[in-house]
Amino acid sequence: MKKRIAALTLAAAMTLGLTACGGGGGSQPSSAPSGAGGSDGQGGGDGVSAAILLPGTINDAGWSAAGYNGLMQAKDEYGLAAADYSESVPLAEQESTIRDYASRGYNLIIGHGNDFLDAIKSVSAEFPDTAFAVTNSVVEGYDNVVGIDVKNEEQGYVAGYALGLLTQSNKVGFVGSTEGLAQKRVENGFVQGLAASNPSAQPVITYVGSMDDSAKAKEQANALFDEGVDCIFQYAQGAGIGVVQAAEESGKTIVVTSPSQQEMAPNTAAMYVQTDTKQQIVSAVKAYTEGNFNSSLKIEGTFASGLFKVGGYSDSLMSADVQSQVQKVVDDLTSGAIQLEVTAAS
């Protein structure tokens, strides 16, 4: 009997631990947000509560961090009643997580990435009063689902273009995390950019196969360097920190995805190409609070709409000439003078 009580206590302790983790993920606010749900949910930012589902973690300095930061800034700007998030949502739990948020009265639910599209489409019909947005997607024919079309190619293009100018060995590496649509689009843009600036350079495309495994990503980067690659664009999300470290340790040039990563590799990070989803999420929240959230709403993620930020040109790695060439490409992408081939969703 004594043992049984002890076992129960242990089980209770572990359950508590689990709840604590959930809290850490920010996915389980203690109570449902106020002013939630109903037909009067739209109008006025005060009562609006939003949630975002992320494929990775909020501190990956990449895709998921951009989504998280976007929502948090939108929260401040529009005084949202609640802004919550779920990290590393596995495919099998997408629908249940969305349903959970929707049934707890969240007004706007954002799936950050094309992976969430199917789940959101199937859940959206059950909650006609809830607004859904999916990044990296084009959505048509749904009243309460809006696609945020992110042109990831542009991000990859700038990185590929810059590295094409910087490479000596004409072998330029790309390290991605897992082969999703967003990754593939960045990769395709990267290849186009590299071909544009240096047709004789060869792109070497690799994937870590994980969003977290930074140790493996580091080995992957070192393997690239061993095989004669002399510069890398890292787009490996949370695992990418390993690539940044490998580059700094072996003195090879790298293009990173955030200013903070550049601080980790002060000697070798030539520049950063950052995704700043804030504007897109703010647009979705704004449309919702103003009552304009419907199937005709179009939100784009491009240089022109302020999604991508380029900066941190390193004077020691990039000559003034190279810097101005890269900046010109950024300007041309922003003005629409360069139009990229878009990767279709499969």
């Binding site: 983790c21 977290d212 930074s214 695992a239 920190i241």
Partner: protein, 309 residues
């Protein structure tokens, strides 16, 4: 393309390096399972150790304190796991799974509480690679075998130590007896419970130190879910290696070499989709399991059965 060019010096270096944390965790698990306890919670142990390693190195500004803290954490974890599975007789697989889930959340949570939600993780002092004098100058072999981090050497040494203890000492005989038929061992005057606790502590310390290899040897920071499934690979290596330390070593090397291979196949741009290349280590392991299954299984007879007098 010269296919054999893939198998160069760097390939073997990567293979040996990437295998080390899996091997260390697997050797700990071999000893644990030989004493009749099945610990599925290695993944959690690795995460815990990785976190404590960074924490210790952060607090005291030396990786050695990280190692000390991780070892202490392993001891505590060993006793907790032992208490649940040995003293209370809880289901071992379920307890292990609980530990995995608990530490995946707990380590991320604690890291964010202590260091905040950061764009890039905080870096701490880490163990540097050590070139062994003379030996590291041997052509080809030197760079492959003798330019690793201290704990990588420890991982491989642990295979020898565990093999020796298990097969050449009376301690090993006792451990094996407990795993096969604890009642008989008990009648012979072996303190079954104490030995089981001892192996639980040893296994969990190995898992935690394996985490230290990841966080402050290979890297110098803690990243959420840094273990990325290596604990499960270690469990697989134990089965693959038929519950012997040398078998675990081979299992770990298959994973290491498989990964080193797929990384290079990606670079050589072979016309195979990346997603298929990425599973090469697992496919290799599966094939090996099927091959060794032909022989009589060396699985300890009393594995995962709680012992009650």
């Amino acid at each position: 393309m010269d296919f054999l060019a893939i198998f160069n010096q760097d390939f073997f270096y990567t293979a040996i390096r990437m295998a080390a944390p899996i091997i260390l965790a697997a050797v700990g698990e071999v000893m644990l399972e030989r004493a009749g306890i099945f610990n599925l919670g290695i993944e959690g142990g690795i995460l815990f150790g990785a976190f404590l390693g960074v924490l210790g190195s952060y607090l005291f500004q030396t990786p050695w304190m990280g190692l000390v803290l991780a070892i202490l954490g392993g001891v505590v974890l060993g006793f907790v796991f032992g208490w649940a599975t040995i003293s209370l007789g809880a289901n071992q697989a379920v307890t292990g799974t609980g530990i995995n889930i608990l530490f995946l959340g707990l380590t991320s949570l604690l890291a964010r509480m202590i260091w905040g939600v950061r764009d890039v993780p905080l870096t701490v002092p880490a163990f540097q690679d050590i070139s062994i004098p003379l030996l590291s100058d041997i052509p080809v072999l030197g760079p492959v075998f003798f330019r690793h981090s201290l704990l990588v050497y420890v991982s491989y040494l642990m295979v020898l130590v565990a093999s020796f203890v298990l097969y050449k000492t009376t301690w090993g005989l006792k451990i094996r007896a407990i795993g096969e038929y604890p009642k008989a061992a008990d009648t012979m005057g072996i303190h079954v419970i104490a030995w089981k606790y001892g192996m639980s502590v040893f296994g969990n310390v190995c898992a935690c130190v394996s985490g230290v290899i990841l966080s402050i040897c290979f890297m110098n920071c803690f990243v959420d879910n840094i273990s990325a499934g290596r604990g499960y690979m270690a469990v697989a290596c134990v089965i693959l290696g038929q519950w012997s330390p040398v078998g675990a070593l081979l299992g770990g090397l298959i994973f290491g070499a498989g990964n080193a291979l797929q990384m290079r196949l990606q670079i050589y741009n072979v016309p195979i989709p990346t997603s298929i290349l990425l599973v090469i280590p697992m496919v290799l392991a599966l094939v090996m399991v099927l091959l060794v299954r032909g022989k009589a299984s060396a699985r300890p007879a009393a594995l995962s059965k709680p012992y009650e007098k």
